[in-house]
Amino acid sequence: MKCKDIEQLQHAFLDQELDPANAHAFAEHLAACPSCGKQLDAFLATKQAIKTQTTRHALPFELYKKVARMTASGQTTWASPSKKWLPLKWGTTGAGLAMAACLAFFMVARPDSEYMLEQQLIAGHIRSLQDNHLTDVVSTDQHTVKPWFNGRLDISPPVIDLTASGFPLIMSIIMPPPPSFIATTPMSSISSSGRLIDPRSTWNPLLRGKDTI
């Protein structure tokens, strides 16, 4: 192991995140190299200082009670004093209105399931064309795309490599269907462009994907 490697691995070493083989090689180099040892000591001191001197902000008990009451009551919306979740604000752009109209139509018309799937795809497509929402994550790497979905989606979708079939991964985007379709089509599906569609998603289709979480 060289000094250059040490520099790269020293934080993982301090955090005890090195695998045994690397940790062993690391320790061996350290024993023989005073300058690396000095550097590591300095980082250890910094780490300790951060750990001991950074404030852990205590959770206000009032907040805990409030949230616990909220979860117990099954509440799913709340009105923040500092923020405006307007129940229904039609806004200025035609797109919002059009989407809302679509949703209203779906809710009333209750078309058959095949038709609904078709409409879901169209709605998702329209939503994906809204400004600033052409792409959620720009990456050609499966291993970047998959972790990106963590915490944003209510599923962890598989990111399948379709390069062999002529569809290289270029980006991913979340295309949630209207809530009225929950449980109508239980299977998740992935379109060939690598876009993900999850019919079980409870997301509001009228919000752009990245704003919703």
Binding site: D15, F43, T202, I213
Partner: protein
């Protein structure tokens, strides 16, 4: 964004509330601490925590087991960032994307001219650790908080921030380097007083 429409989704029927409480409520302290550090404000942090738990309830039916804390903190993190973005009055301020992914190692995280907060701290000579951490760009601040205060593993941090472990490691390295640099300067300042 002005035409946001909030449709209440009724998840009450199939959501397992006692299980949610048992799994998610114990992590509220960590949720609050992260939200507090990311938003920098106690009131904002309280709002973010409530908002996050509401989202968590809505998504809970699809929680597939695994680390409840990382799952919840990922929601808190994204909610915090959205909150900040909205607070900035829709001015598009993209998160500072570090170019470590591109292998541009020469890029210096701390550039006094480009970072007014750090500049301010420099003038004070002796900064507290809290000030230094708060002055870090959010992408570095969050890994420091998750690692040093919440003591998450690299893997858990990667889950929370939705980045590969390598990115976690390089961000931690840069964050510590930046703090170290300014901390020792601050220490000199304190000593000379």
């Amino acid at each position: 964004m002005n035409d946001q429409i909030w449709v209440q989704v009724n998840m009450g029927a199939d959501r397992n509330q006692p299980q949610f409480d048992v799994l998610m409520l114990p992590h509220m302290a960590a949720a609050y601490n992260l939200a507090r550090w990311l938003t920098g404000d106690p009131d904002d942090a309280s709002d973010v925590v409530q908002e996050s738990y509401l989202r968590a309830i809505r998504f809970f039916t699809s929680y597939r087991g695994g680390a409840a804390r990382s799952w919840l903190l990922a929601i808190v993190r994204n909610t915090s960032l959205n909150w900040l973005a909205q607070k900035r009055n829709q001015k598009t301020v993209p998160l500072p994307e570090p170019d470590d992914e591109k292998g541009n190692a020469g890029h210096e995280l701390i550039d006094e001219n480009a970072d007014p907060e750090f500049e301010l701290i420099q003038k004070q000579a002796a900064a507290t650790m809290d000030q230094l951490v708060q002055a870090l760009p959010a992408v570095y601040r969050e890994v420091i908080i998750l690692r040093e205060i919440e003591e998450l593993s690299y893997k858990e941090i990667a889950e929370v921030i939705g980045m590969p472990i390598g990115t976690v490691m390089s961000r931690l390295a840069r964050a510590r380097k930046a703090i170290q640099q300014h901390w020792s300067k601050s220490a000199d300042g304190r000593a000379s007083k």
